[in-house]
């Protein structure tokens, strides 16, 4: 059924919108990055269960992150961000130590410059290796006066396909390979995909990608096979700190708002939810996050919008332009005699 919000805006039941009549509740992930310890068990469990191929053994210089990005061959990606700032009331243990300025910003600049010169500018990470020169990173000089710096925090966050309410990848797929499951998730049918690559450019999060040698698009399935067997996804099962929580989306949203209130009460005002709002540009994510900094610091778009929002405008402009071309062609011939005219 086509709803007023079938393409954009809040949509309470995407599975029903896709034609599933009797279906289980919509499920998803709530990834609470405030308790992520960066163990990467989610990355490993996902690769093992889903038989996801290797994406290159990189040494990226992105703190402890050598995966770099989600991609065709990385369906979970743990980001690591080093910052000279306190986490809540935590004592970073720097008091009395000789500390100079942090080097993390210079480190990031070195990595950024190296990435810029790779084939896809770093966008290949998670899919294929990035051939970076061995990073030569500046090291903070520890010769500053004691007490010159007291902040230090290490953010870790496990990223995953957002399973959007309005999924750009699904909307543009010309073969029907991408489909909405009865759980409200978005999955690629590998036996249908012909590798046209449209979904890659339609994803506002840069998640889905094409496997270079296989030729087909691939991304997180939210462990569709496990869901059908009544199991939780491999990453959530493997997470030792419950940073990755799986469940019905309504329940996860409640849990997340409780957790956010707790963190704010505990003196972590920078905690925020990302992707939980059904009024956002993608109608809310099936996989949403609690972040401790702005989304872009984690490599996430701050205000993603599904391209399908502009569908009508795009077609209307194309229609007018097509009519203009037809009119131009007719007028080029109109009112002039044919043969023999100079």
């Amino acid at each position: 059924m086509i709803d007023e919000h079938s393409f954009y805006g809040p949509l309470p039941d995407p599975a029903a919108d896709a034609g599933h009549s009797d279906h289980p509740p919509r499920v998803g992930f709530f990834t609470d990055t405030s308790v992520c310890i960066g163990c990467k068990a989610c990355e490993v469990a996902c690769k093992e269960w889903n038989n996801v191929p290797e994406d290159g053994l990189n040494l990226l210089g992105m703190s402890f992150d050598n995966t770099g990005m989600l991609g065709a061959n990385s369906w979970r990606h743990v980001a690591f961000i080093e910052q000279d700032r306190r986490l809540g009331v935590q004592d970073a243990g720097l008091a009395g130590l000789p500390t100079g300025p942090p080097a993390s910003d210079q480190d990031a600049a070195v990595v950024a410059e190296a990435l810029r010169h790779t084939q896809r500018g770093g966008g290949q990470l998670g899919t294929s290796p990035a051939d970076l020169p061995f990073p030569s990173l500046p090291v903070a000089d520890g010769d500053g006066p004691p007490g010159s710096r007291d902040g230090l925090r290490w953010l870790m966050a496990s990223d995953v396909c957002k399973h959007c309410t309005h999924a750009g990848c699904l909307d543009v797929c010309p073969t029907g390979a991408l489909f909405r499951t009865e759980f409200g998730t978005v999955v690629v049918q590998q036996d249908i995909c012909n590798g046209c690559g449209y979904c890659v450019s339609a994803c506002p999060y840069g998640v889905i990608d094409r496997r270079p040698h296989d030729g087909r698009a691939a991304k997180c399935t939210l462990c569709y096979d496990r869901l059908r067997g009544g199991l939780e996804p491999a990453c959530a099962k493997a997470c030792p700190t419950q940073s990755i929580q799986f469940g019905p989306l309504d329940e996860l949203r409640e849990r997340a708002s409780d957790r956010l209130a707790d963190l704010h009460a505990d003196g972590v005002p920078e905690a925020r939810l990302y992707g939980e709002d059904p009024d956002d540009g993608v109608g809310g994510d099936g996989a949403f996050f609690l972040l401790l900094d702005e989304p872009e610091a984690y490599g996430l778009p701050p205000d993603p919008v599904v391209p399908t929002r502009n569908l009508a405008a795009s077609w209307k402009a194309a229609g007018i332009a097509a009519a203009a071309l037809a009119a131009a062609a007719v007028s080029a011939f109109a009112g002039r005699p044919g043969r023999g005219r100079r």
């Binding site: 990435l115 896809r120 770093g122 543009v172 046209c196 840069g206 332009a321 097509a322 080029a332």
Partner: protein, 338 residues
């Protein structure tokens, strides 16, 4: 404590994850912009051929029909070859999805192809194998006109849908130009089709090609200039780097070709040929330039982060906050310049 500004690298007017792109750059290679050109050429040629057929211009008709089928054939090869699994090209025919311009485009091409092919066959085949005195030859010649007209009816769709295909993505430069790109592409298609007509038809028959060249080039250049003048950041991808260089060359060739088409090409066949080549080159470079701008806008995270940050800042109780209306005191985001 040193402030962030003192430590900041030059590219730090926005924040990112180690400068890494937010989006995946398109997996499409040169074959897609090449198709944008050949598809446009097929469309423009089909229109010219139909007009020439109806107004009795056999040489222009022949050039248009053959150009249309040639452009279409090359397009098909390019499109199938660009697939990750070329042997599955027919999976495009499983569904018809209005939300997917590629799906709609597939069906537009399905509607365009038989007419274009039959019209060209009517041009090529009668003669040696299908003599006009036999019924096969007569049937082909008879069918060529309705076939060519059916291709011409679909041709504007062939020329325009590719703009919707590009703008219906998260690629900032393409998405930003969703109102202008269709006019750039249809203008470019008209200019290239007319260019082929100028190149292949005698001066006496090429009058409509000269007029279509002028109108198409004017439309393309005007729409292209509108993109360049857009204040939004993603439009900068069109006015910098390789995309900029290609599009400047394109503009020069297109403008020069069009001016030549309505002046010297009215009398001189060599001038008409030069004008035709310039128009074809300008059209091709325009497609490659637009494609390159899109790729560049995905490789640099600023094209994603800065406009979205500005959008959030313009919204009450959003940008630079933690989602609850409380500003994050240490946030160095654009909403709260430190």
């Amino acid at each position: 404590m040193k402030t962030r500004e003192e430590l900041a690298v030059p590219r730090a007017e926005f924040r990112s994850y180690y400068g890494r792109p937010v989006l995946k750059p398109p997996v499409w290679e040169w074959k897609i912009p090449a198709y944008l050109f050949t598809g446009g050429l097929a469309a423009g040629s089909a229109l010219l051929a139909a007009g020439a057929d109806l107004t009795g211009r056999p040489a222009l008709r022949r050039a248009g029909r053959l150009g249309s089928l040639g452009g279409l054939a090359v397009s098909m090869v390019l499109l199938v070859a660009d697939l990750g699994r070329p042997e599955r090209f027919h999976h495009m025919l499983r569904v018809a999805k209005p939300t997917s311009p590629m799906s709609i485009g597939t069906w537009i091409l399905v509607a365009f192809s038989p007419g274009s092919a039959l019209a060209a066959a009517g041009e090529l085949l009668p003669g040696r194998w299908f003599p006009r005195t036999r019924w096969t030859g007569r049937l082909l010649t008879l069918a060529a006109r309705p076939a060519g007209l059916s291709a011409a009816a679909v041709a504007p769709g062939v020329a325009a849908y590719t703009a919707a295909l590009l703008s219906q993505t998260a690629v900032p430069a393409w998405n930003e130009a969703r109102y202008e790109l269709p006019f750039v592409f249809t203008g470019s298609a008209a200019a290239s089709g007319a260019g082929l007509g100028l190149l292949a038809a005698p001066v006496a028959e090429a009058g409509p090609a000269r007029r279509l060249a002028a109108v198409g080039a004017a439309g393309e250049l005007a729409a292209s200039a509108l993109i360049d003048r857009k204040p939004a950041l993603p439009a900068r991808a069109y006015t910098t780097g390789r995309a900029h260089r290609m599009r400047r060359w394109s503009e020069g060739l297109t403008a020069g070709g069009a001016i030549l088409a309505v002046t010297a090409a009215r009398r001189s066949r060599p001038a008409a040929a030069v004008a035709g080549l310039a128009l074809l080159g300008g059209s091709a470079l325009q497609r490659f330039g637009v494609f390159e701008a899109g790729v560049a806008s995905t490789r640099d995270p600023k094209y994603v982060v800065v406009p979205q940050r500005e959008r959030l800042a313009a919204r009450p109780l959003a940008g630079g906050t933690n989602g609850t209306g409380h500003p994050d005191p240490e946030s160095p985001g654009l909403a709260s310049p430190a």
